[in-house]
């Protein structure tokens, strides 16, 4: 090799060695400083260098280099970069190139420090990004669970507290008790606001996430997601000796797109497969299957383990922090995440023991075709306003909520305000109730087991011929404006956010009722009925129940009136509003419009802390109440009083006390 070529290589930082035999080399160019530092001056300048003794990496590379030299190929054989420590402990980056020139087998070594650092920086950035991405995915799951906890698991008990406190209004309690009640209501209001504020912080995230989920073009494919997760899980399954497969049912169709978002859908499959593996004995098989279920597409994971624990329901298994008994998972969040995600997309998730052996965990989601039809409309149109149309009289209300306390207390309060209520625990029971009797209003909780509010609504809207007059109102823990719009778009006539105050619910119902009077479509009342007849109508002629209601009214009204008077004396707006509100509800049962109007005005004045007109209104209310009590007093006992001239036999509706003259 010419001196010029050697100088050129030296300038580039290379050192050239010529291969003699059996791993022996001689230097063809002066050693650069890094080589002296690495191998020592004595060894380098001593003539022959036995590479195998100097560098384990080069010892290895010589196998590749030998193959290259023997092949007679032209070009170069390059090694990867490697790092070796010098005698002084310094790390030196190295690279080697084997080549042949003029029949000589040559080895060029160099220390590509800058190239090494550039490459390291690039890889460091890429891998840091991957780690961040993984971490972010985990954080997103945690955040979604946290949000759901706030929305559902904190709001629900708060609703119960709030409704329970509302129900205490008008009860006979001491001044001190009243003070404590006000304190409790104030605290529950504050907590409601705090929950809404927290949700507000996440509103942008929620909106972005929902936008991504509702884009028709981005609908994930069940089969593609299942396959992707299956590939990742095969080695782990193999390690445990469990086979993992997708069954042939997936070939039924080519398009398995569903509502949702790909990454989350993969996470659902991933959580279900992790769960299945946990309970699968070696030698068994876990099968992923897909099925059509009308407009829904269903995916299931079958295992051959011990089946579900006999003492646990599917709802418990999918609950927060739920763990199996024998081989618990991690934090009990995986299946919970699956449930809240599937339900958020309008789907259902559940599990069951299989008749042969093992268990089946399944979920179904709306197929994308229905979604595609719906979404563009939703995107183009403005969010519809609340669509509660005109309703006459106190209403027949169907209340569906999975939480016992909410059902009990809401029903109690609605009944106390004169409405007829049937309370059920899920969407399916709501549909069953609708088959048996007719209702004016259905209040459906969005988030219920077995059948959600959205699914029940869908079934109701499909029977438009039968339920065209039914007003369907959503009760939801998702309190953001985008969620309200989502539910209105889904077909609800109105939306009430949880935790809700009963007066808000009542205001919505009363607001609807008030519209009745102005509505030309509603036929005017042909005959003026007495309060007794009205209440008797309301309970479908059940005299005993009607008497109970009258008795309750007569018993509860004096303390309420006294409460109003006291609130006026003490100028307590909150108490005035509370007592007037309670009274308004109770007089509504008897269609006592005058009394109701006075009570409502007093309630408004109380809320505004204004007392100038209140005294006059109170006098008017007192008079209205006195007339109403007079009309009702005779019906409060066990038996209806005998009318002058009436037969001694019971006459269900013919007799009535003299109505108050306007």
């Amino acid at each position: 090799m010419s001196a010029i070529a050697l100088q050129f290589l030296r300038e580039l930082g290379f050192v050239l060695l010529q291969h003699k035999d059996h791993g022996r080399f001689v230097l063809l160019s002066p050693p650069p400083p890094w080589l002296l530092e690495l191998w020592g001056a004595y060894d380098v300048n001593g003539g022959e260098i036995r590479i195998v003794e100097k560098s384990p990496f080069l010892e290895n590379f010589l196998f590749e280099a030998d193959t290259f030299w023997q092949s007679g190929k032209t070009g170069l054989c390059q090694s990867e970069m490697w790092i070796e420590k010098s005698v002084s402990g310094k790390e030196i980056a190295l690279a080697a190139i084997a080549l042949e020139s003029g029949g000589k087998r040559l080895l060029a070594l160099h220390s590509p420090e800058s190239q090494f650092h550039e490459r390291q920086q690039l890889l460091q950035t890429a891998r840091n990004s991957l780690l961040d991405h993984e971490k972010l995915q985990r954080e997103i799951q945690k955040k979604e669970i946290l949000l759901h906890c706030i929305i559902h698991d904190l709001s629900q008990p708060l609703s119960v507290m709030s409704v329970a406190l509302d129900c205490m209004i008008g009860e006979q309690i001491s001044d001190r008790g009243q003070g404590l009640l006000d304190l409790g209501r104030k605290a529950s209001d504050q907590q409601c606001l705090m929950i809404r504020d927290i949700l507000q912080v996440f509103a942008a995230d929620l909106q972005a996430s929902m936008d991504a989920e509702s884009k028709p073009g981005s609908a994930p494919d069940l089969l593609a997601c299942a396959s992707s997760v299956l590939n990742a899980f095969v080695p782990v399954y193999a390690a445990k000796g469990v086979q993992l497969r997708i069954n042939d049912s997936a070939k039924q169709r080519s398009d398995w797109r569903v509502r949702g978002q790909g990454r989350r859908l993969e996470r659902i499959f991933s959580n279900l497969l992790e769960n299945a593996l946990r309970y699968s004995p070696p030698g068994s098989t876990v099968t992923i299957g897909l099925e059509e279920q009308g407009e829904f597409l269903k995916a299931y994971v079958d295992d051959e383990g011990p089946g579900l624990p006999a003492d646990m329901t599917p709802a418990q298994i999918f609950a927060l922090f739920s763990k199996g008994k024998e081989s618990g998972g991690k934090a009990g969040l995986g299946l919970y995440f699956c449930r809240l995600t599937v339900e958020r997309w309008g789907g259902i998730i559940s599990c069951e023991s299989r008749p042969e052996r093992g268990s089946r965990f399944w979920f179904q989601l709306p197929g994308v075709s229905a979604e595609v039809e719906r979404t563009p409309q939703a995107a183009e149109s403005q969010p519809p306003p609340n669509r509660v149309p005109l309703i006459k009289r106190p209403m027949r209300v169907l209340l569906a909520d999975d939480q016992n306390e909410i059902r009990l207390l809401t029903a109690h309060q609605l009944e106390r305000n004169g409405h007829h209520v049937v309370a059920v625990a899920n969407g399916q029971e709501a549909l069953d109730a609708l088959q048996k009797e007719s209702f004016d209003v259905a209040l459906l909780d969005e988030d219920m087991p077995l059948m959600t509010g959205l699914q029940a609504l869908k079934a109701i809207r499909e029977r438009e011929d039968k339920f065209s007059a039914l007003i369907v109102i959503a009760l939801t823990g998702y309190n953001s404006e985008p969620d309200r719009q989502r539910l209105l778009h889904a077909g609800f006539d109105s939306v009430i956010g949880k935790p809700f105050r009963l007066d808000a619910l009542e205001a919505l119902l009363q607001g609807a009722a008030e519209s009745v009077s102005a509505a030309p479509t509603v036929a005017p009342r042909a005959v003026v009925k007495s309060p007794w007849e009205i209440v008797l109508d309301r309970v479908a002629g059940d005299e005993q129940l009607a008497r109970k209601m009258v008795l309750t009214f007569l018993r509860e009204t004096p303390p309420r009136m006294a409460g109003i008077q006291k609130a006026l004396t003490k100028k307590s707006g909150a108490r005035l509003a509370s007592f007037a509100h309670a009274l308004k509800g109770s007089v509504s049962i008897f269609d006592a419009h005058g009394a109701r109007e006075c009570a409502e005005k007093l309630q408004d004045l109380g809320r505004a802390n204004s007392f100038t007109e209140a005294t006059g209104l109170y006098s008017q209310l007192k008079e209205e109440i006195a007339h109403l009590e007079e009309n009702l007093r005779g019906y409060a006992g066990r038996r209806r009083p005998r009318e002058p001239g009436a037969s001694s036999k019971n006459q269900r509706r013919s007799s009535k006390p003299k109505p108050k003259q306007p």
């Binding site: 990867e80 420590k85 891998r127 782990v236 390690a239 081989s327």
Partner: protein
Amino acid sequence: MIQKKICMLGAFAVGKTSLVRRFVESIFSETYHTTVGVKIDRKTLQLNATEINLVLWDLYGDDDFQKIRWSHFQGAYGYLLVADGTRRSTLEKALLLEERARQEIGSVPFVFVINKSDLAKDWELDAQVEAQLQAKKWTVLRSSAKTGEGVEEAFAELTRKMLV
């Protein structure tokens, strides 16, 4: 003195370099520095009455950016298969790499090390899979390059296996 070559194998960021540093220099750094290419270290180990010079080949993590070159395993007597207990995906990667290693270099002694045992609250690996691997005669150890837990034992166990 006997000399044995050991390779470190596993996904990226599982702590292969940290395990070697802890073993060779008793040092741990919280900062993650990705490995480019191959890093070679040495450590003399006293096992019973025998002194063994271990040549440790710390290979970069296998991923889409850098694929393992199996030629690096030429002359290796064994390898430490490493996963990160806080990232389930690294277990999947380790199992795939072990299968590839069997195909490429045949049956070579190895020890499966699940690293980062100090991060117990973030643990993602299923204890059942661990038990199942042990049932398949794998040597499975938990380690922490941070605290040093299980590090010496892992290298010593691998050396013992290599000497058999």
